[in-house]
């Protein structure tokens, strides 16, 4: 098709002419309309639906503050700690940029955890939104990697020993473990080589992947359309204009709501940045104000709060707990054998895998399985679209006792998080073990419990009261 230059009247505004000139060569207006301007979203969004745009805002804050930090930071084991202090004390307003970045890291996780909670409550991961969810899981993994790599950079005691402990976790993998840890560190201990490569991952490698995943997450969302608190598919009920009768264009309706959310967020964010940037040792740990010393370990090593639920699962895996896990794995195999309609070959395969896993649990030590459980506890959320068999997407139309299942799961997750910052005792370890079983039970038994009980009828229209 021949190129066609749109002709506007001579007296059209310059801006309109310029836009038209661009639109003939690049789909600028089309992109804006597809992705936001004429993206029709359900009209019954609630406060939970602010966290997507807030996550995007924090991503921008992290990238911009990060760029300015790199201008003064030195990724060198001899200079790193001092360069961070230099930013804090001598670079004009450097302290603000750094506190925004460090507070932004914790804010990012708070927002993302709430964003994920929303998805759990309203079944936002269900068909046809499986890929949105998987891209989201990828974003979560990238965030964890960003946080881990970034935490080494200030080269304080917690940076150093945290990295030492996490890298040594890979050493628990049978046969290849010690060589793998050596390969990750690039030295026999965490050193300058480790700092430099973590810096490269933190400032360029992971952010590139992260941005790609965010774009994929949004494209997939705007392709299939947003879910909503009722879990009703708004595209199944179209009006004469071809848009869902229960939808409104994102611009200006959700633009204004998101801006209000941004204002509320920035209010809280600024309060933390200016008045409590360390947040009682949870956002910036006190031991990290001491330069890294390879010959002396801090008395108590704990990861930053957003990793602690998973760290608790790692620590809960003691050699005694392995027996409980073996029973659990075998029982789960038996459950698949007796309580599913899978073809018999798949059932036998599942039982075989359960038996082999149980045997390997006796062969390899608990330290290795702790690492495995920690990894699985993060990755298991990727299965959500396929293990939730509930007829209703939203918690609103599920049996009332399902709410209790979610509450018990949520509380267990919070307890695991709390225990992760505490020094372990026998009693705490036992609580962590119980919570670990609840955590995995929630996901692994979901194919069964999610379809049990009396479901309420899902309406055809969303429930919405105009103010």
């Amino acid at each position: 098709m021949a190129f066609h230059e749109t002709k506007l009247p001579e007296d059209a505004p310059v801006a309109q002419k310029a836009l038209s000139w661009v639109d003939d060569r690049f789909p600028l207006t089309k992109l804006w309309n597809d992705q936001w301007g004429k993206y029709y979203a359900p009209k019954n969004f609630n406060v939970f639906y602010l966290f997507g745009s807030l996550a995007a805002l924090v991503l921008v804050i992290q990238i911009v503050t990060g760029i300015f930090l790199v201008m003064n930071y030195k990724p060198d084991a001899n200079l790193a700690f001092a360069s961070v202090e230099y930013i804090m004390r001598e670079v004009p307003w450097g302290w603000l940029v750094r506190y925004m970045h460090s507070t932004g890291a914790s804010a990012f996780f708070i927002i993302v955890y709430l964003h994920m909670t929303r998805a759990l409550l309203y079944g936002s991961y269900r068909k046809p939104r499986e890929l949105i969810w998987l891209f989201g899981v990828g974003i979560f993994l990238c965030l964890m990697a960003e946080a881990f790599f970034g935490y080494l950079l200030p080269w304080g005691q917690m940076s150093y020993w945290g990295a030492q402990v996490i890298v040594n976790l890979f050493g628990a993998i049978p046969f290849i473990g010690p060589d793998l840890s050596l390969w990750i560190r690039g030295d026999y201990v965490v050193s300058d080589a480790t700092l430099n490569r973590f810096f490269a991952f933190h400032v360029i490698a992971i952010p590139l992947v992260l941005l790609g995943l965010v774009v994929a997450h949004l494209i997939a969302l705007h392709e299939v359309g947003s879910n909503n608190p009722d879990g009703v598919e708004v595209k199944e009920n179209l009006g004469p204009d071809g848009h869902g009768v229960d939808t409104i264009p994102s611009h200006p309706y959700y633009t204004t709501k998101d801006i209000f959310g941004v204002a509320c967020f920035l209010f809280i964010f600024s309060a933390v940045v200016f008045y409590a940037p360390e947040f009682g040792g949870y956002f910036l740990e006190y031991n990290n104000f001491i330069p890294a010393d390879p010959l002396k370990t801090p008395a108590h090593i704990a990861p930053v709060w957003y990793f602690t639920p998973f760290y608790s699962i790692l620590r809960a895996t003691t050699s005694q707990f392995m027996y409980a896990l073996i029973i659990g794995v075998l029982a789960y195999g038996a459950l698949i054998m007796t309580k599913t309609q899978l073809p018999s070959r798949q059932k036998q395969a599942a039982m075989g895998i359960a038996v082999v896993t149980a045997i390997l649990m006796l062969v390899f030590d608990a330290k290795f399985w702790g690492v495995v459980l920690m990894g699985v506890s993060v990755l298991i959320i990727a299965l959500m679209p396929w293990i939730d068999h509930s007829p209703a997407k939203s918690i609103r139309y599920r049996p009332d006792w399902h709410k209790w299942v979610y509450i018990v799961f949520g509380i267990s997750f919070l307890i695991l998080g709390y225990l992760g910052v505490q020094a372990p005792t026998d009693g705490r370890t036992l609580v962590a073990q119980i919570c670990t079983i609840i955590y995995f039970g929630f996901f692994l038994l979901m194919p069964w419990w999610s379809k049990m009980g009396e479901f309420k009828p899902v309406p055809t229209r969303v429930s919405f009261k105009p103010h």
Partner: protein
């Protein structure tokens, strides 16, 4: 037009061969990037075996040398110190150094004194609990935070793990394992190489 559905097998074969050759080059290239993560020659040189001269070490004295960024202790034990190792045996978690023996105790040190010569203890001064460096408490007798029948040894300041004069951990302490004896060998009566033995480098 049936021609459009026909596959030219000669061209298809060449296409596959080209893709395979390109794939091999790609994998080889990726291999180079993976290899850059290995310790560099400089890091390896810094992790090379170190040699210690113990001629100036008097009985009862200890020397600390750095090997691979970790403190390594060389303790010249007096005959009394060696004798004390017999008394501690029943209070130890792993008196015969059987646990993780391949990593922690080379075959030539799997004895009561955990060394080649009873006189010289060579051990990495890093606690097996969380990696703190224990303090030497070589004098025997009751002292703060130590048992009343203390025979001399090491106390970790972080979580109170105690070790005897052969680096063996006492029972019911946070540390699970004995202190590591690195691979080492005597090149002469008074020179010890740490990080290397007759079987090669650690």
């Amino acid at each position: 037009m049936s021609d459009e559905n026909q596959v030219d097998s000669g061209r298809r074969g060449l296409l596959v061969a080209t893709a395979a050759a390109g794939g091999v080059a790609g994998v080889a290239g990726a291999g180079a990037f993976v290899a850059t993560f290995e310790p560099s020659e400089r890091a390896k040189a810094a992790g090379a075996p170190v040699e210690v001269d113990v001629a100036d070490l008097k009985p009862g004295e200890m020397k600390t040398v750095e090997w691979r960024g970790k403190p390594v202790w060389v303790l010249r034990r007096t005959p009394e110190m060696v004798a004390s190792l017999k008394k501690t045996g029943s209070d130890l978690a792993d008196p015969k150094s059987e646990r993780n023996a391949d990593d922690l105790t080379p075959a030539y040190a799997r004895n009561e004194h955990r060394s080649i010569k009873p006189e010289f203890l060579v051990t990495v001064g890093i606690c097996s609990h969380l990696g703190c460096s224990p303090s030497p408490k070589l004098e025997a007798g009751a002292q703060p935070s130590l048992s009343t029948d203390w025979q001399g040894g090491f106390l970790c300041p972080c979580h109170g793990s105690t070790f005897d004069l052969a680096g063996r951990v006492f029972k019911n302490k946070p540390a699970p394992d004995n202190l590591q004896v690195p691979r080492h060998m005597f090149t002469s009566d008074t020179r010890i190489v740490i990080g290397k033995d007759e079987k090669g480098e650690a």
